[in-house]
Every structure is written in C-alpha cells, then in structure tokens.
C-alpha cells in the first residue's frame, strides 16, 4: 500500500488546491506503535502527514456526520460502504463528498499482535502489506501481516470500494471465499443456554463507555435510546441485563446497515468481541432479506421497507 501514499498526497493536494474540497480526512501516523490516528488536512502543506498502511484501522466515515465543509475522504472498502449507507439514510450529501477509494489488503488487529508478543512492550513497529517488524526492550520480531489481519478483513468481500470518485491504486480481486460467519454459525449451533452463558461472560466486562457506539458510522442519533429519559427505556448501569440489552438493541439497529468494518471490536477497551453480535445482524439481513449494506446508493434501508414475500415462518 506504501506506493500509493505519494499518489494519495498528490490527488488530495490537487483537490485542495483546485478548491473542489476544503477539507481532507485521512489517516496519520499514531503516537504509539501499531497505531494510526484520524487526520484533518485543510492546508496543502500538511499533506505529507497522510499515510496509508495496514495500521489505518479507523472508519473515517464517522467524521462526515454534521459536517458542512466539502470533504475529500480517504476510504477503504468498508469506509466507502459506510458512506453509502449514511448517504442512503440522508446523513451525508454525496455532492459534498469526494471519495478517494483505497483498495485495501486489510488492516491489522493490534490486540492479537500484542497478545502474540505476550506482555513484552512493543516500542517500535513498521507495518507493510507483507510483514510486521516489531522492536522492543531486547527483542525484535517479524510477523506475517496476513495472519494478524483483523477478523473483518479476513472475510472481506469488498477490498475495492464499491463506490468512489477517484480510485487510488489498482482494484484488488475479491480474494476471500470465507464469508466470515464461522463464529456466528458455531454459536448458532449451540443451545440457548450455552449462548446466553457465552454472551453474559463476554458482556459482563462492559464498562458502558460507548466507544463501540461512538466510533461506529452507523450510530449518529441525536439522542441514543440509552440516553432517553422520557421514558427511560433501559437502565444505564453496567448491570448485566441493562448492558446486554444495550448491545442487543444496538445490533438490531445495525441490521442491514452494518458493513462489518470491525471498528467497534477494535475500539473496545475491555477486549469484548462485539463482532459476534454485529456479524449476526449482517447475517440476518443477508438470510432474510437478501441484502448487503452499502453497495449501491439506490438501496433503501432494510427495516424501512418490506416485500410482500418477506419470510414469516415464525408467525403463528
């Protein structure tokens, strides 16, 4: 991906100088190893802050909400699909957004890398499409990027953004046949009792910090249902049923909207695997409504419409 960094800066620079956009949203080097950080460029001088490598794991579509500038946004496949869903829900005006599509080999999952290094502190990391070079106190390791990609990227079917204005780099073939539902299928095969225990165990660590909601481009409600007070539907404590209900209802709200970018699981400080819920929401949209989110701007939101022959086997 490195080769494209110059091209990104060049394209972004042209857009800024021509005045086609007055803001570029991209990624810049983070202050910690393995990390990138969102970057907002308005002055062409700052363009060399923009980077593009497998550490760029933040879904930038989140930053389009409520913006009145004309924005050039660097978008991986999942970011672009999130923009499409937001646009189809009236949250983003496409004529004010220039999508700089970035064909993507996948982003790393730093939690997996850190647990692989098992307690030793990583002081420096260089990440390319092929290898991850890690340096620390008295050790240096090289890991294959392939094995430490995020789970979402392992099963990604849209390495090239389905919608873009400018594509930077060669379109990538849709490599993976694995549809990523392995974990969901495995959970579905278990009994209700086992699934309940699994999710209680997983969710009981939640501290209700809402980073999963606040990094997700699909969560843009002015007042989230957990914050409503008249009436207050659900409690805001970290008691197990309040927390379980928060995560379940958020997953329901993602049905037919979640593009499985994995930002929520990566953001969770308590290392909860939230993808087990969001992937199920995506699977329901596919199985029941034969719908995949963020592919075309003409799609209407899944739960906002209906078909006469929608499945109703569950209705008595």
């Amino acid at each position: 991906m490195g080769g494209n960094e110059e091209k990104i800066r060049e394209v972004a620079g042209r857009l800024l100088r021509d005045g086609e956009v007055n803001l570029i949203i991209g990624h810049e080097r983070g202050t910690l190893p393995l990390r990138s950080s969102p970057c907002f460029v308005t002055d062409p001088e700052d363009l060399d802050r923009l980077i593009w490598d497998p550490t760029c794991d933040i879904n930038l579509a989140k930053y389009l909400h409520g913006r009145d500038e004309r924005v050039g946004i660097l978008a991986k496949g999942c970011d672009a699909r999130s923009i499409v869903v937001c646009a189809s829900e009236g949250q983003v005006e496409m004529d004010r957004v220039v999508i700089l599509g970035l064909p993507c080999h996948g982003v790393i999952n730093r939690k997996n890398i850190e647990s692989e290094i098992a307690g030793r502190e990583i002081l420096e990391a260089i990440v390319t499409d092929e290898i991850i070079t890690l340096k620390g106190e008295g050790f240096e390791e090289v890991l294959p990027t392939e094995t430490f990609l995020d789970d979402s990227c392992m099963s990604c079917r849209h390495r090239t953004p389905p919608v873009y204005d400018v594509l930077i780099g060669e379109p990538l073939p849709e490599a993976s046949e694995d549809d990523g539902y392995a974990e969901v299928n495995e959970l579905e095969s278990k009994s209700a009792e086992e699934r309940w225990d699994h999710f209680v165990d997983e969710i009981s660590n939640c501290i209700r910090c809402y980073s999963c909601r606040d990094v997700c481009p699909m969560c843009y409600c002015k007042e989230c249902f957990v914050d409503e007070t008249m009436p207050a539907w659900f409690g805001k404590t970290n008691e197990i049923t309040d927390t379980m209900i928060y995560h379940v209802v958020r997953a329901i709200h993602l049905t037919g909207r979640c593009v499985d970018c994995g930002a929520c699981s990566r953001a969770c400080p308590m290392h909860i695997n939230l993808r087990a819920l969001t992937k199920k929401a995506e699977k329901i949209a596919r199985d029941r409504f034969n719908f995949e989110a963020g592919i075309s701007l003409e799609d209407t939101p899944v739960l906002g419409t209906f078909k006469q022959d929608d499945s109703e086997e569950f209705i008595i």
Binding site: F199, T241, R288, T305, I315
Partner: protein, 155 residues
C-alpha cells in the same frame, strides 16, 4: 407520565392448585387481533387467563423496546398479534412490522432468550377461535419454559 414512573412488572400469581402460572403480556392490534379477542369473548370461547392485553393501534406500533422492556420487567412471555398481511388498516403497518419482528426474534434467540418467550401471530377480527387457540398455544409454550430469568433485572 406517572403511570410509567410507577410501572412495574407482573405481580407473582399462582393458580388455584398453587402451580406457577406464566404471566404473558399481549400487544393486540386494535383493528384485527383486539377485535378477534372480543369475538372470542362474545362467543364464550375459553382460553387461559394468563395474558394481559395492551391495545395498540397497529402491530407496527410495537417497538423492540416494548418487548425487551417487558422481558426485563419480569414478564414470562410476550405475544404480539396483528392483522394478516393485506388486512392492515394502515395498508403496510404489519408488513413493516414483520421485518422488525423477524430481526428481533432472531437476535433475541441468538443471545440465548429461549425460543417461545416472544411470539408473533396474525389474527383477524373474524378469527375468535384462532385467537383462543393462539393464546392457549403461547401459554403452553411459556409454561414449558418455566419462569423467565434471562434478561430479567433483579436487585
């Protein structure tokens, strides 16, 4: 507003023989299922008294919050009943609701809520007997599952 503030879950109730009786909240759409329930009453059709009816203008008025809050407040079972597709007084209310219920049911059962806790049915205004059959079936299903614990907020 105060009703909501004072709202609480179902009081424990046991039948005459001291057996645990499931408490089921039923959201009935005003135009069809509620009328169907009326018809069952007028025709003296017997069905178990375990349900407490909440009349709603349309099955699409029932949001996932109503259902999940009922479960959290300790109701043992939920029934949502609306008009058959095509009969909806608001033309497509039940069709939109159908998708919403499908997603809700799949997701709740995925996290471990026992199948049978949350039930959906189409009962038209003329189907008094179907209404009593549906209620009897739901009550039996919930009785088989026993008192609700998952998602019930205690303490």
């Amino acid at each position: 507003m105060n009703a909501e503030v004072k709202g609480s879950g179902p009081e424990e109730e046991t039948s005459s023989e001291g057996r645990w009786e499931p408490r089921i909240i039923a959201f009935l759409c005003n135009w069809c299922s509620y009328a169907g329930a009326d018809l069952a009453g007028i025709s003296r059709l017997q069905y178990p008294p375990n349900i407490r009816v909440v009349r709603v203008p349309c099955s699409s008025r029932v949001s996932p919050y109503f259902i999940i809050k009922s479960l959290q407040r300790g109701w043992d079972g939920v029934l949502v009943s609306g008009c058959h597709p095509g009969d909806c007084h608001y033309i497509s209310g039940n069709l939109v609701a159908r998708r919403r219920f499908a997603v809700l049911k799949d997701m709740l059962e995925y996290i471990g809520v026992e199948p049978g806790r949350v039930n959906f049915s189409w009962v038209s205004a003329a189907e008094g007997d179907k209404f009593s059959k549906v209620v009897r079936e739901v009550v039996n299903r919930v009785r088989a599952l026993g008192p609700a614990e998952r998602l019930v907020k205690v303490g």
